[in-house]
Symmetry: C4
Subunit: 296 residues, 4 copies
């Protein structure tokens, strides 16, 4: 994977310009090594956070009635600023298409699209909040390369385990489809299980131990099946945890731990069970008798 801490590496991806105003713009927008670059990034983060608060506040009816015009104007101001920034990014790199199709490029586009789409579909207005993903830049701003590597480690771990995750997910999906259908048959629409999709939704709330309670089984047989599902969903967490802990505790007891055997000559203690000579002065140790040992 590209070494993100090295600016040379990054610029290879989208093409750092050679000279001129484009190079100057690039160092400010894409890099954070110069003071201007750092200032730009901090203002960007601040603007993103304020715009998120504005969109959230605009959805609260009490605030909307009083401040909608202010919010509306601010929102368009932000969108225009971010659009200008986006175009600046596209123009100053040598391979604009690579940037536009990269992860951060798509995120930056999604950050400004909703405001424009909302002209056509007003109800999508709130999706402006998607620009929260732009905050992933915050780690670069504060030169926190370790956080970046933590994120990458997290992502890599997920990718490496993708087969196990898929198998696990498929088993869970089959269980909830079958159990949901069974509950639909047992309880019926009269008790809230109005259709198979609804029953499957209930089965998921139960197996994942969320338990909203908007739909609940009313019949005795339904409650019995629900009980089994709940024990299954919770047990899937509890049983492995218990097994792992049992293994761990057992291993703590077994390994060739230093014991409290004491040397008669120099009184050093903490020799291994199999030791014959003192580790500190070389004198012979008395024979080792286990005293029935085990125990955490």
């Amino acid at each position: 994977m590209t070494d993100l801490s090295s600016p040379n590496a990054r610029s290879d991806r989208w093409g750092k310009p050679m000279r001129g105003w484009r190079l100057w713009l690039y160092t400010i927008i894409f890099e954070a090594d110069t003071r201007a670059g750092q200032l730009f990034d901090r203002w960007l983060i601040a603007l993103i956070l304020v715009s998120l608060v504005v969109v959230a506040a605009d959805s609260v009816e009490a605030l909307q009635r009083r401040f909608h015009l202010v919010f509306f104007s601010l929102e368009w101001l932000f969108t225009v600023l971010f659009s200008v920034e986006y175009i600046a990014r596209l123009t100053c790199v040598r391979h604009p298409l690579r940037y536009a199709t990269s992860f951060f490029g798509i995120v930056d586009l999604l950050a400004i699209l909703p405001t424009y789409l909302a002209l056509l579909f007003p109800e999508l207005h709130a999706l402006i909040d998607v620009r929260v993903l732009r905050l992933l830049r915050v780690f670069r701003v504060f030169k926190l390369a370790e956080y970046v590597s933590e994120y990458q480690a997290l992502g890599a771990a997920l990718v490496a385990s993708r087969r196990k995750i898929l198998v696990f997910l498929s088993v869970v999906l089959m269980v909830v489809v079958i159990m949901g259908t069974v509950m639909y048959v047992v309880e019926g629409p009269r008790n809230g299980f109005t259709s198979i999709p609804t029953s499957v939704y209930w089965a998921i709330t139960t197996m994942t131990t969320v338990g909203f309670g908007d739909i609940t089984p009313k019949t005795d047989f339904g409650r019995l099946i629900a009980s089994m599902m709940m024990l299954l969903g919770w047990g899937t967490l509890a049983v492995p945890t218990g097994i792992v802990t049992a293994e761990m505790t057992f291993r703590r007891v077994q390994p060739p731990q230093p014991t409290t055997r004491t040397c008669h000559e120099c009184l050093t203690e903490g020799h291994l069970p199999q030791a014959i000579y003192c580790q500190h002065c070389g004198a012979p140790l008395p024979a080792y008798q286990q005293s029935g040992g085990a125990g955490a």
Copy 2:
């Protein structure tokens, strides 16, 4: 366990025919090595998925009113097709009874039975969804032997731990029966705890942290008992997890573990870092240099 990647192995179970039309049918239906065999499997998966969607859609009232006749016809079409396939499977193997009693054989039968049973018991109609288990074939279709082995590993792990699981389950069952009964006595039918079975159902929703909320304790003493049960159910997950993590962190920080230091005289290795004399022959040990050792 049979090596499922080898076709010779599989056919030994049900008996691969030697020649003729039965062999031709077998290679298409049971094997996925020929193009016809793969095509058959992909169509089969598609048909199963479509039939599941049809049954689910038929349970949604809005869709049922408009499309019931279409759904009904499609459902019988699928059932007839799957029945023909089932009979084909039975006729082309040499030991039909072994197939019929194997896991996949039973699943294939359960996939067509509900439609016929629904003629007698209309309310069982929805159980057609059980045929989702047929989708376990999807891994063979796409030659995903690794997924099959992941499933088998999962199953094997469960079987190996069955004693621990049974002990754990029995303790949980005893706790919920006793606690459920106590809550029945403390809260009473007036507060929603209408009978002991109902109270046990509530106890299970509480211990597994699902918490539907259809039944909740109203008295102070009842809420106190409920609080203890909640801490028990959640703690059963949190405490072992915490212990395991503490162990892990401890090992990273503090390993006065025997090392690979080797004595020059007697060649015994495995001395503690602080040892000065050999534990086996008493000779002086060379000084210990750490190589930046342990852990993450």
Copy 3:
């Protein structure tokens, strides 16, 4: 700990009689080595199970109206039988007091007390279900010594970790008391948080992720605090789990695992990456090329 598989060991605790009718009674009631002893135990388990079902059924109103007299008579029959058995146990051992104060002795007494207490306090009738603890004998009945040792292992693990558990519990209790009080101040009785104990009960339902929903925060500030508590309660499970998994995945990548390197001379495979000579025949091995190896 006493070796429970050896009958001589067990009898040392309460005193196995030497001879006569008391010895005969002892071998039937306390031991399961003779056929009469096994028969006794199986009938005992069956009787306990039936009595539990009777008490549970008697609490269901629909069944109670129709069968109360039957249930009532059966319940007294069981209690009389169990009382006779209890007295038999006391009379046939040499140290009846030791039996009466042992775990099983107390359980056996609690199994018959509620029925008598219910003569004075009718509402305690349901506590007869406490006799479910007698079912712990089921493992001895079926000579399942391994299950007994699993139980003991579970108990031993809990005892060994008692300090960590107490510390953890005390932290959780302090958090819920403080957070519950804060929510009481923020939300107030008007929003369901009627008193500090009630608010602490709500805090426990939230931190343990049970979430009944009988009490919920209505104010924005209250919901903010609730959000932090939910993340705390769920995070206490998720964060350690994630850390442990990260550690594990890291270690899998590191250690010198046997590979699939094969010796050309004798075709043995499974040599370590650093091996130069075959472990089986001593011939030189070809150089090792990693193929991008590690991971899931």
Copy 4:
């Protein structure tokens, strides 16, 4: 970290007086080595517990109507006593400012402040419960130095993992903000999702599997998104747990681990149990004797 079991160490922090009435006061209040010191601590714990119960009881309406005057008087008595104690602490150490800014110093101040603040802001009265933090002293009272080290270990573990925790939290926060916003758009205020902050609150109850049920999705698309969030929140616990358990079981079953077997010719160690020839020089290895070794 300071060794808290050594009184000399502790006094270095705030300054143990040299002589006179201040030294006498110090040994009673801050130390628990003398009988007077222990008595003081036990009375202090008892007083704290009683004052907590008084504040909690005062919030229960039924009790408040009958006993408010008693509670009120007791509360002021406690506050006066604790204030006197606090001033005593400040006066008898040599560096009062260090004590006032230490953890215990702040806790002791927060324990008496609310009662005074409640004169100005009556609704803060209940925050007196914050003094429950003073109960952290209980471990010193009973000379439980091991509990103190357990607490410190817990704290140290959290500090060491702070980067991972921050990364994890930030991912969770981004997910709930985006998902909450999406649900706000999909469901709308008509279905309970009255604003973006409210929807984010719902998203947190769902991902943390708390599931109050005060807000629930009503549309099919909303329930679909909710299902994915529930599987995500529960899966974040279940998947790593399953992976860890699978790893553990794998290691138990299959350890062709390198051992510490050493070749006599070239002194290379770390051969597999089944190896016959040295992997480094090809010489024959001595036979392998297991010492009861690896794995549970």
